[in-house]
């Protein structure tokens, strides 16, 4: 047990190292020179060279081969190779990582000119986290009961309906879902000439009327907002009214994001319950005359929920990743929309930072899962 934990903990920095190297190199070799972008077309070679030096772009990219020679020389002189180590880590990659560890991911060059990337992400991350978390809660609270019911009543009409629904909602692309649902909820009156009432257009509408900072004031704590309309921010008197108007517009994006969670949870719950119900210990429990309820809750469910814990853990790691299409379609100022904007503007600093943050969240979630699993499943404690 301890050996596994130690091995996992040692493995974490290795994964993060490779992930960051690959991401950094891909971003580095992507087209576009940040200095050229900053200075424009009329910059003199002199200025370019000076700025390049100032930002450290003239340093070696990843590994400085000269450092090894320096180390050999220093060692042959009987000194500790301190200068060599310093030179080794004075490359663009290690400088970037050192900055990133301090929360400095560089600056936006085009779209959000001169804004620090870390700040851009930090102000959008809470929004994405809240949206995804609500979607996940809905997904779990609907998906698990559906999965249990279909698992118990398999091959009935109910089972068939739910399975078809989950298969369709996994397969239907957001590309198709977004225009169709928006059409149904918001624009129907345009085509049929019917006023669909005040709520429907609001549900389908875009959040374009408020900017990101408004959104943060309004929903900065979407959960408290939902519970008690949150704390009134100081400077903006009518935030509550903005919130009240905007809230229905979150129904559709949350619904769409929760569809995927519902489908995955239902399918996994059904499959693992069916598998567990076929096991010998369930038959034993039934054979010794336990009530069916007790068999299900005490024997079957506790085992069937183990794979769910895995999916839940990975989903928690995935909360950081905003949905590109949903957020950009509905104008939600989250991480996903930022990523799409960055894609269009070819903002590699933003992309690299996002890839790194999402990858770190995923790897840490995976590690936490591996550490927690032996506590949930006693069988795993005996391995090795």
């Amino acid at each position: 047990m301890v050996a596994i934990v130690v091995r996992r903990l040692l493995w974490l920095p290795v994964v993060l190292f490779f992930v960051s190297v690959i991401t950094f190199l891909l971003g580095f070799y992507a087209p576009g020179d940040p200095v050229q972008v900053l200075l424009g077309v009329h910059a003199t070679p002199d200025t370019i060279e000076r700025l390049r030096h100032e930002y450290g772009f003239d340093k070696p990219i990843f590994i400085d081969p000269d450092a090894f020679g320096l180390a050999a020389r220093e060692l042959s002189q009987g000194k500790l190779p301190l200068n060599a180590i310093q030179q080794f880590f004075d490359t663009q990659y290690f400088r970037y990582i050192a900055n990133a560890l301090h929360g400095n991911f560089g600056y936006s060059l085009v779209k959000y000119r001169d804004q620090p990337v870390g700040e851009l992400i930090a102000e959008r991350l809470p929004i994405t986290l809240q949206l995804n978390f609500i979607a996940l809660v809905i997904g779990v609270s609907l998906g698990l009961p559906l999965g249990i019911l279909t698992g118990l009543k398999r091959n009935t009409r109910f089972d068939f309906t739910v399975r078809t629904f989950t298969l369709v909602s996994i397969s239907i692309s957001l590309l198709a879902l977004l225009p169709i649902l928006t059409f149904i909820f918001s624009r129907r009156q345009d085509i049929f000439g019917i006023q669909a009432g005040p709520i429907l257009p609001m549900v389908g509408g875009r959040l374009s009327t408020i900017s990101g900072t408004d959104f943060n004031d309004c929903f900065g704590g979407l959960a408290p907002t939902l519970i008690g309309w949150g704390v009134q921010p100081e400077n903006i008197p009518d935030t509550r009214i903005i919130c009240l108007n905007q809230l229905p517009k979150l129904v559709l994006p949350i619904l769409i994001e929760s569809l995927g969670y519902i489908a995955i949870m239902t399918r996994q719950m059904r499959a693992s319950l069916i598998e567990v119900l076929g096991q010998d210990y369930v038959r034993t429990a039934r054979a010794k005359g336990l009530r069916e309820r007790s068999v299900l809750v005490r024997h079957a469910m506790r085992n069937a929920l183990l794979p769910i814990a895995t999916i839940l853990g990975l989903s928690l790691g995935g909360l950081v990743e905003g949905s590109f299409l949903v957020e950009s379609w509905f104008g939600i100022p989250g991480v996903g929309a930022l990523a799409v904007d960055a894609l269009y503007a070819r903002e590699y600093y933003i992309i690299v930072a996002l890839v790194l943050i999402i990858a770190v969240a995923y790897v840490v979630a995976l590690l936490a899962l591996d550490l927690i699993r032996p506590f949930l499943d006693p069988r795993l404690r005996q391995v090795e």
């Binding site: 994964v15 992507a30 239907i172 692309s173 059409f183 299409l325």
Partner: protein, 321 residues
Amino acid sequence: MTQTTLSEFQRAEDSSRMRSPWLQIVRRIVKNKFALVGILVIFLIVFVALFANVLAPYGYDAQNLDAKEQPPSSAHWLGTDALGRDMLSRLIFGARSAVFVVLLVTTVNLVLGVPLGAIAGYYGGWVDALIMRIVEILFAFPGLLFVFMIAATVKPVILGWARANGLADLARSGYLDYAVVIIALGFVGWGGLARFVRDQVMAVKVRDFVLGAFAVGVPTWKVIYRHILPNALAPIIVLLSAGMGFIALSEGYLSYLGIGLQPPNPSWGNMMAENAGRYWRTFPQSIWLVWVPALILTSIVLAFAFLGDALNEALNPEISD
């Protein structure tokens, strides 16, 4: 009395003729109506893709600026877009793009994933550890963003290579977008397949017939290729058929976001992106142009999902009671 015996005899005869495992699988799939519909949809798309230049009434990039933003008519069955291009023709050529990308990405995944997975599963030990660690690192990247980074970095490399080798026309034509999409999706997709093949091979390699093959002196590569892989094949086929739909979908996403196939190339994704912009302004006509590619994409993913489910049940009859 004689009637019954005769028909029973015939049934026995039939079932003996149907005893070939592949025929049984085909029969089980054909019995499943959803799978039949799925196969039909897939065949239709492949047919349209193969004969796109015969079926399409216009070229995919033929503009007619006198007839732009037309509603459906007899000349343009699905209307025209903002540049006066015939929507039906673009959809038909879009099928060609989709089939091309799906086939090649699947091939790349197979070529990378199956041998690496088989080697990892067969040899175990540090080889297995190395390959699986690489897969783990690959999984840590967020899919779409990682694909974008690969596409952005690969594209200038390919373009530069084409120009340096006197293929400037090719570099200008936009055909290289396909290479970019295929490389990016292929590079990201093989990890799952490799892990899956590895698990399958690990389960098969301890069975008696494999030990028997070694005992009579069959060389290792031949044992893997002739004895282990065919027996691990069924679940791999299921995984591939379910995955093809999602490759088509990923191509749609990439092109929708402007990373994949660029606009003159026909792709359902970039058609939606182009027309969705107008969707908010001139609503009633152009909604059509967004929905049709979206529904085609969805039906393809569904078709492959149904086919995958049916294949799963047909190849593993014991789990579907």
